[in-house]
């Protein structure tokens, strides 16, 4: 029953329908491929409630940053970065794991710390000034 209606529906397709369908399938596929192949970043920006520091991902570091709740530990290893330890309750930031692609961001809202990966030239926005 439904199969018959489906085939009737497909038979009613016009040239533009096929083109539209193909165009949108291609567009979605392309966007997904682009999403998977995002370029890897060069720097890590760590933003705490009163300062913003940029580290090069080339060098491994393991540092503690203070927030309203206590000390959060952030590590850089093998050109990737992650929250190692956090004093917050739910630990979403720690469970997020590693990040290494441009614009990837992890935020720990309770402890007010944000880390994000940035590329070679950081595009300026209004918060830079």
């Amino acid at each position: 029953m439904i199969k018959k209606k489906m085939s009737k529906f497909i038979n009613s397709f016009k040239v533009g329908d096929v083109l539209t369908l193909l165009f949108f399938i291609a567009l979605v596929t392309l966007l997904f491929i682009k999403l998977i192949n995002l370029p890897e970043g060069e720097y890590l920006e760590i933003e705490t409630n009163n300062e913003s520091i940029i580290f090069n991902l080339e060098h491994d570091i393991q540092k503690k940053f203070s927030g309203p709740l206590g000390l959060t530990e952030i590590i850089i290893h093998n050109k990737r970065a992650r929250f190692k330890e956090s004093p917050c309750n739910k630990k979403y930031c720690v469970h997020h794991g590693w990040i290494n692609k441009i614009n990837e961001t992890v935020v720990c809202i309770p402890n007010e710390i944000r880390i994000s990966i940035i590329g070679k030239n950081k595009p300026y926005d209004s918060t830079n000034y």
Partner: protein, 169 residues
């Protein structure tokens, strides 16, 4: 005796009936849990498409606008960001439907109108979100997922509209 100064025309009655159905579909959709936040099938748009194809753009326009206003008032989201998102989505789809309506039947069928409207809906919402609600480039990560859902539900809604139009004949 009170005099009726505004006489509702036959068109007005038809718009009211179609808008009522669209509002009910919006309500049903609202009470269904969505697996991914923000992804909704948009079944109310079936009525907009149906109105456009079986009547005219004027009917489709008013059905869509009335549906957006009334369902947001009923759900308590009137003038909240949710309302503006659905409003901008509705306006974007109507705009693309207005541009494409003359090609219907010659070059495009139901499914194309449905797909273009659903994509315009998503793109319009993304522009508004980028400009106003979340002014950060990070939201583009979500774009492929929303467009994929737009593709799936665009085809499904197109199919349902096709069945509705067939039934009418």
């Amino acid at each position: 005796m009170t005099q009726q100064t505004i006489k509702p025309t036959h068109d007005d009655h038809r718009i009211a009936k179609l808008a009522a159905v669209a509002i009910i579909l919006s309500m049903i959709e609202f009470f269904f849990p969505s697996p991914i936040p923000g992804v909704k099938p948009g079944i109310a748009n079936i009525i907009t498409l149906y109105a456009l194809i079986s009547f005219n753009f004027y009917t489709a326009f008013w059905v869509s606008i009335i549906r957006i206003f009334i369902s947001s008032i009923l759900l308590g989201s009137f003038l909240s960001p949710t309302f503006f998102l659905s409003f901008i989505g509705g306006i974007s789809s109507l705009l693309i439907l207005f541009l494409l309506k003359n090609f219907y039947g010659k070059f495009f069928g139901v499914i194309s109108l449905s797909l273009w409207a659903s994509f315009a809906h998503i793109i319009g919402q993304f522009i508004l979100v980028r400009l106003w609600i979340v002014p950060d480039d990070g939201i583009y990560t979500l774009l492929p997922f929303f467009l994929l859902s737009g593709l799936i539900f665009g085809v499904v809604n197109g199919f349902i509209t096709f069945l509705l139009l067939k039934q009418k004949k």
